[in-house]
Homo-oligomer: 491 residues x 2
Amino acid sequence: MDNKLTIYNTLSKKKEIFEPLNPPHVGMYVCGPTVYGDPHLGHARPAIAFDLVFRYLQHLDYKVRYVRNITDVGHLENDADEGEDKIAKKARLEELEPMEVVQYYTNSYHAAMQALNVLNPSIEPNASGHIIEQMTMIRKILKSGYAYESAGSIYFDVEKYNETNPYGILSGRKVEDLIATTRELDGQGEKKNSFDFALWKKAAPEHIMRWPSEWSDGFPGWHMECSAMGTRYLGEQFDIHGGGMDLLFPHHESEIAQSVAANGKMPVRYWMHNNMITINGQKMGKSLGNAVSLEEFFTGEHPLLTHAYSPMTIRFFIMQAHYRSTLDFSNEALQAAEKGYRRMMAAMEVLEKLEANGKPGESVKINWLKDKCYEAMNDDFNSPVLIAHLFDGVKTINSIKDGKLKIDKENLIALKELFMIFGNDILGLKSEGEAAGGQDDLSSKLIETLLDLRRESKLNKDFNTADKIRDQLTAMGVTLKDTKEGTEWSL
Amino acid sequence: MDNKLTIYNTLSKKKEIFEPLNPPHVGMYVCGPTVYGDPHLGHARPAIAFDLVFRYLQHLDYKVRYVRNITDVGHLENDADEGEDKIAKKARLEELEPMEVVQYYTNSYHAAMQALNVLNPSIEPNASGHIIEQMTMIRKILKSGYAYESAGSIYFDVEKYNETNPYGILSGRKVEDLIATTRELDGQGEKKNSFDFALWKKAAPEHIMRWPSEWSDGFPGWHMECSAMGTRYLGEQFDIHGGGMDLLFPHHESEIAQSVAANGKMPVRYWMHNNMITINGQKMGKSLGNAVSLEEFFTGEHPLLTHAYSPMTIRFFIMQAHYRSTLDFSNEALQAAEKGYRRMMAAMEVLEKLEANGKPGESVKINWLKDKCYEAMNDDFNSPVLIAHLFDGVKTINSIKDGKLKIDKENLIALKELFMIFGNDILGLKSEGEAAGGQDDLSSKLIETLLDLRRESKLNKDFNTADKIRDQLTAMGVTLKDTKEGTEWSL
């Protein structure tokens, strides 16, 4: 294989050959979920996009340390109506405890990720567990002169930083423009400029999550956690930083500024951003009523969904688009993905039992397909092209099965290896039975056996038995659909 | 129900009526795993023992905040052979990262707990994520005069504390005895007395996990985390603190001393300790070669095991002993538990389909059994007695099935409720299918349907079909056994 892995770098706005700082090690940081709500599609897309990156880098024999954080320093507040006094008098156990909320949604997130066959990252640090690291970094930034204290809070001085370092290097925004449009709007607030961002916020009385510091009882600004945890676990400079495109500005832009101000170095070599998800062409949002949780997809219990979509269908659907393309969820598109996924899995099952049926001279060749698959992945993790190539493989498998194509032993091994590597290991596809919530292999086989018996009963004009089988399957939640090709079933 | 929940309190060494500090709230803290190795029986026992407590308290309508910590501030060190210089020159990614080890074993622990049907605690805090809380508490103890600094470390002054507060109140140890036996042994070490314990340890150069403090770059002493996290999430005084008996001294004894020194109050009302596990009568230990991991139990892959034991068998086995009794694991005992578990589950399945077969006057009565079950649980969570009562229920179920006993509607509802409450909700039993690795409900129903068809085929003398069904089931790993009562199957 001659061609090398290239990655589209948001920083340079072009594809670059991937060269890690300390091969064979690769350090990768991806912005994880804020755990104050049910996991939804906006969580699934980056998780799956960077799972693909993680899996492919590991396949290329890199030793990847993959850090995906949990944002748990939220803004949960005590009920303001109660007043501070009343809250202070409450027993500890009667108070709202944000970490209980955090635990609940972290567990939901993990369950959803497991169902989607997303591998666990190497480290999954919590923001609340790294306050010391964040305070240490804030002190460094203060010392380097790029931050100022105001009323117990610490703010990053964007204008000053921009004098020597380009703030906007990632997003392309210009501070001059920001100044022009916002200066006159600034009142007598705490900040010098409205676009300055908090490194440390003094906590209002009703704010529950707070830690003592030399500046105030407060909490770190949102951008701090990723800078501090990235540095702690991957070093002052590391290879890949990923996240959704919505995080590009101000979050990632500010991360760069913080790291340069604290450590004097650009923190990240390759910035990667997955594009956004729309639903029926609309932006996703709670206020728009179209924020479908993953659980709702898996169960089908949402007015926008015509039926349930299994975790593997969601995974396949997300990977059928390149991570830098927008992706529109609709029932039609999901049903197409479901069919595609099933077609591929069916072929992979056929492949397992396939035996060589030809001699070397007459055999179909597989190596070119393998090269094509690597080419696709090396081209900035182009999963839709990879999937298209694998569907060429599916055609080959079915043609061999039907006796229309010959394959020899060596090429059969290569074909099996190809699907093992790209289907199972890299795309992370598995049969629904193994995924949570789907039917398992045993059930599928049992259902097929019952359908066989039903077909035979019909042939023998024993309609009583045929109807009984249908009725009992229906009672178990197995829906049958008779087609020309035979009987299809679904759960 | 007149009788009240009583708990054996290690502090008073007697059973006491349980009266929470702030009903209906209950605060419970249990010492969780140290995540530097595979989860084993020593992890399963406290987790299941306090899962039972958690489940029962919730059943009694208490609002339980259950905190179970993860001890991750370990003692992983860089390879001393390499020397400090060489380590310092290593890139961050080439260094051993303790949190990667922590993540790995935390994930294994969670997977094992899920398989054992142990409910998630309300909050699962990491020691490394609560360094600030621990430092704050150390400062309080220093201020109150019960700790001293020595060479960058902070030690708890046990002798001074004991002048006004009994150190040994939990374990029954006497400081006077400790002094008599250890004073002459003390050399010119950092500590005043060898039984003084560290609140903060200055880190040796090779120690990886370290945080800055006013005393030194170091890490908190082991006992600190539970005191600090218990206080943070449950308050300065809370209801229940649990853990293994091996933690009673010095860990829990020191927790009490720390809390009294910092907050001036006894931290916990009810101290609960589960007893230890032996294997074939021997203490469990890596050096003895009998430390069987939970994974090894589930797969049967360990020289000491004659076959695999399912998670539910392990759970049932642990609950067949009272939590304060020692428990000896042997293949014989586990196989007995397996049988008992299966017998109970089979009866619970029969119960589901059972219909009333008698009038009120002639019906068996169920309420006395329910009372007995509550009595057992109220008697310090006596699960073996509870299980014995449920086996009385099993006999009743089987007698009703065989037509030897009559039951009316009302009592049938009570019987079903009894098993739902005590079998499913409190003991946390579920069919193996729902547990990892077993057959699920759908498969069971499908198999039953196929067996029905086979029976009918035989009646119709269609032996071809009957044999075909048997062969296909056998090919799927379903073993059939024809008995007088019908066909039994197993996977």
